[in-house]
């Protein structure tokens, strides 16, 4: 299995091309229209004669539906149709993407609630009208009569009944290796913790939107406003609505943030498609913010009961974890993926001889949940790093030292764990964990900081520092493809099966293409998120695009380059090996003067009517598919200095460092942007953001006044250390994903720093660390 993984030191030098743009902080090709107000976000898409869709949503968390009365609404001017569950009974439940976990089908969500409403916000009926204001007016007149049922809001509580014969635990994800019982029997000490992570989510600034149109002339159903997983969604929409996949096209415009939640297949996506087909008019739906906070995927909420067996030196002998994942009311498109990831990724960077985990996948009467940036890792890094701090405290060891003793060493790479996640075996592909820890501590001034903290405490301040080590995953395979073409004007087009969620995919892929081909990156057109331009694709998620589509881009561009050199060599009467491409001109590689040929001319010579082609497939174009059996594992360290306001209980992050080894940075400016932006989201989850419910299951976080997103005022002075010490041996560029490391360790680092400020190890047991909690801790200390 590890044959394909050559040790880092034996790797050849990183691939370079003539373009000299990979590794440089160049500006983005995406930005022009976005700063001019010329973007094309979902709400900006309009078609003549379009109808507007408005959802009628459940106002009770758990109830039996007795009747849905639509007469008054139907009589409103401009209303064209109103549907309830009976009208869409032919549309199957919304499916999930397969992992190894099976048997979840009965728990999937219908597009409109059938018989029972299971969370506040669940679609119950849907109104179509000629104007969005009128659609909303009409929706308010739809009356749902219902009989309230008891609600289940605690994933650790005894199981309830989902439906006859099915309880509220669709599955338990179990993983184990090593002699776990022996580890605890022989332990010098056993450290036990009970920890929880609050319910929060991606909450992009653009709400969801979907615009469907049936083009009868071509018998094509179009869906606009899509993101992330266009090809899978196309196939499922086609299957669920009984159409051939070739008769469904998904289009991606600009995407106002994804973070895991956007681009999944939701009830509203199927409803606009079904309506466009049935009503024979384009149908537009734009979510409002209150809807978003109760309808779009939640994430994160988990409760862990974890214990570690350690020897006298603080070395891990075994970890045993039982956790409860609050999935909310239905299984959505990720199935049990977050539980699977949490269980697989919990061991992180540490050498762990024995491990046993049971992840209870539990349904409650809350908005369904799925992935959010660093899914399963934000949670388990918090849990694992709390555990490491607790081990240090128990044995009287330094927090850094206990980590050093347990980190997998560079000599042990690649490090195979007898575990899997997302259906792939976990093989930590490369890394120098301790080396990065040293760099990070030094850059942050960790040792000097300890003296500063003592001085500030002596002056009466409540200050502390925390650290967390994390391992991320990226580059989920198995495949992605890219087609690179040069047209007769010399313009380069790159068509990718990936998508963009606003993170700079176009620029990164253009840089890789430009590097390999020897052209200007800024003049490359990057096409993504369109099922009509490329037959297959696996989308943008799991920090996979730069790894998978980037590698495919590299190989496709190299193939085009080879074709161009071959053709030009014949014309220039030189050998291909004598030639290179510089700024779009095929010329002598040795720099000596000589004839040259523009790529445009080469492309013309390879056109369909060029005598040189004579029946061969024309075009200066190549499509390459990159395959990967294993993920690439970036890693890093979070360090933070916090100050606590004793009066208000507010935790202020003063200074923060994220050190992250991502193998190779295609564009350091974009990588830093990803990390700082990820840090902001992590801070939200650590200190502010939480979907709260009252005891009857009514959501309390339904506006931005209640669901608090970090503003600039909450941001610390943030430093980023991008390391490239451990390129991935799994792809030609050596890259690992950079999208999630900024978020991963924030909860853990903040918790550790708050403990340190309170001078009370283990004080923080739950996220977010809100002022009320801190005040209570301060009171109990006094």
């Amino acid at each position: 299995m590890t044959d394909a993984l050559a040790p880092v030191k034996e790797r050849p030098a990183l691939a370079r091309g003539p373009g000299k743009v990979v590794g440089h902080a160049v500006t983005r090709i995406e930005d022009g229209p976005l700063v001019r107000g010329e973007g094309l976000f979902a709400a900006d898409v309009n078609f003549p004669r379009q109808l507007h869709m408005r959802m009628v949503r459940a106002e009770l968390a758990h109830a039996r539906i007795l009747a849905v009365s639509t007469d008054a609404a139907r009589a409103m001017p401009g209303v064209v149709a109103i549907w309830t569950a009976e009208d869409v009974a032919d549309i199957p439940l919304i499916p999930f993407r397969a992992t190894k976990v099976r048997g979840l089908e009965p728990y999937c969500q219908p597009v409109l609630a059938r018989d029972r409403m299971r969370y506040v916000g669940e679609p119950v009926a849907v109104v179509f009208a000629d104007d969005p204001y009128r659609a909303e007016d009409a929706a308010e007149l739809v009356v749902v009569e219902a009989e309230e049922l008891s609600v289940l809001l605690d994933a650790t509580a005894p199981l309830g009944e989902f439906s006859p014969g099915q309880d509220t635990e669709p599955t338990i994800v179990r993983k184990a290796y090593g002699e776990i019982d022996a580890a605890f029997r022989d332990a010098h000490a056993v450290v036990e913790l009970e920890l929880s992570v609050g319910r929060h989510s991606g909450v992009p600034l653009e709400t969801r939107g979907a615009i469907a149109r049936y083009d009868a002339a071509h018998d094509v159903l179009e869906l606009h406003g899509t993101a992330k997983k266009q090809h899978w969604n196309r196939d499922e929409i086609a299957r669920l609505l009984g159409r051939p996949p070739q008769g469904v096209h998904l289009f991606e415009g600009h995407v106002g943030g994804g973070f895991g939640v956007r681009g999944e297949l939701y009830p509203e996506d199927l409803l606009v498609c079904a309506a466009a087909l049935r009503l024979r008019r384009p149908v537009k739906w734009i979510e409002d913010r209150r809807e978003h906070l109760v309808a779009t995927n939640h994430s994160r909420e988990q409760h862990h009961r974890i214990r570690a067996a350690v020897d006298a030196e603080g070395r891990l002998l075994g970890i045993d974890d039982v956790f409860f994942h609050d999935q909310g009311a239905y299984v959505r498109t990720h199935g049990a993926r977050v539980v699977d990831l949490a269980a697989g990724m919990l061991p992180g960077p540490y050498r762990l001889p024995a491990y046993r985990v049971a992840g209870h996948f539990r349904l409650t009467n809350k908005t369904p949940s799925a992935t959010y940036r660093a899914p399963g890792r934000f949670e388990t890094t918090f849990v694992r790093e709390r555990l490491m701090d607790a081990i240090a405290a128990r044995l009287g060891l330094d927090r850094v030292e206990v980590r050093r003793r347990n980190l997998v060493s560079a000599a042990e790479m690649p490090h195979a764990r007898p575990l899997d996640a997302l259906g792939t075996e976990i093989v930590l592909d490369s890394g120098d964990y301790e080396g990065l820890l040293d760099k990070a501590l030094s850059r942050f001034g960790w040792n000097a900081l300890q003296g500063e903290l003592a001085a500030r405490r002596a002056a009466g301040e409540c200050v502390g520092a925390g650290l967390a080590f994390f391992v991320e995953k990226s580059g989920l395979g198995p495949s992605d493809g890219v087609r690179v073409s040069v047209d007769a004007n010399g313009a380069v087009e790159l068509v990718s099966g990936a998508a963009s969620v606003g993170q700079g995919v176009e620029t990164a892929l253009a840089q890789i293409c430009a590097e390999a081909l020897g052209v200007d990156y800024a003049r490359i057109r990057v096409v993504r998120g369109r099922t009509d331009r490329i037959e297959f694709g696996n989308g943008a998620h799991a920090s996979r695009v730069t790894v998978m589509s980037g590698s495919a881009t590299w190989e496709a561009a190299l193939a085009v380059r080879a074709m161009a050199l071959d053709t030009a060599a014949t014309l220039l009467q030189l050998r291909p090996s004598d030639l290179t491409i510089r700024d779009g001109e095929v010329c002598r590689a040795d720099g000596l003067p000589g004839p040259s040929l523009a790529l445009a001319e080469v492309a013309r010579r390879m056109g369909p009517n060029s005598p040189a082609m004579r029946g061969r497939t024309p075009g200066l174009t190549a499509e390459k598919w990159f395959w990967s059996d294993h993920m690439a594992y970036p890693y890093g360290v979070h360090l933070v200095l916090v100050r606590i306001d004793r009066g208000t209980g507010q935790v202020v992050a003063e200074r923060y460092l994220v050190a992250n080894d991502i193998g190779r940075a295609i564009n350091p400016m974009l990588v830093e942007g990803q990390i700082v932006g990820g840090l902001a989201q992590g801070l939200g989850g650590a200190l502010l953001e939480e979907f709260r419910y009252d005891p009857s299951g009514q959501p309390l976080s339904t506006t931005f006044a209640d669901y608090l997103i970090p503003t600039i005022a909450e941001m610390p002075a943030a430093d980023v250390l991008i390391a490239e010490d451990a390129p991935s041996p799994l792809n030609p560029l050596g890259v690992k994903g950079a999208g999630e490391g900024g978020t991963n360790g924030v909860g853990a680092a903040i918790a550790a720093a708050v403990d340190d400020a309170l001078l009370r190890p283990g004080a923080v047991t739950a996220l977010p660390v809100v002022p009320a909690t801190v005040r209570r801790l301060l009171d109990t200390l006094a």
């Binding site: 976005l34 107000g37 600034l205 913010r289 606003g502 942007g673 997103i709 600039i712």
Partner: protein
């Protein structure tokens, strides 16, 4: 609809005559009636600032203003920032400093920052943080937005100095 109102508003220097319901927000008037979709809606209750436009020079939330309240007022939106196809120093600085990722909050931030710089190009650090904290960005973590404001101020100073030299 009995309560239709005929209003004229001046949008980026152009007069627009529209007939709107009293309840129609300025954001919808700008986007749907005038067709300028650069102004984005993020929350529709005045918290996130994505819909920030300038009304008689002052930043306002277009989701909290009714169209009829903008009768006769001069409104500036993101579409009005570039002059003759040339990006404003602030727009250019947002690109140069990577102050945007998904770009959804960007028009609101550009309008807010335009107002900040027009009011006080030498605004102090704490005052700048206070002013910028009125808008939400979910992607960038804000650091590069601050850099862009400072870079734009420097570019504007240099531009003014060059103009005075000429």
């Amino acid at each position: 609809m009995s309560d239709l109102h005929d209003i004229t508003l001046v949008l980026n220097g152009e007069r627009h005559a529209v007939r709107v319901e009293a309840r129609r927000t300025l954001a919808d008037v700008i986007r749907e009636d005038c067709g300028l979709t650069g102004t984005h809606l993020g929350c529709e209750h005045g918290v996130c600032g994505a819909c920030t436009v300038l009304m008689d020079g002052q930043p306002v939330r277009a989701c909290l203003v009714f169209g009829v309240q903008a009768r006769g007022r001069a409104i500036r939106t993101v579409e009005g920032l570039a002059e003759g196809g040339r990006l404003s120093p602030l727009q250019q600085a947002f690109i140069d400093e990577h102050a945007l990722q998904c770009g959804y909050c960007t028009p609101g931030f550009l309008m807010l920052c335009t107002a900040i710089l027009e009011a006080d190009p030498e605004i102090g650090d704490q005052a700048l943080v206070d002013a910028l904290s009125s808008n939400i960005c979910r992607c960038t973590g804000y650091a590069n937005i601050v850099k862009a404001v400072r870079a734009a101020a420097a570019a504007m100073r240099a531009g003014t100095a060059a103009a005075e030299m000429a």
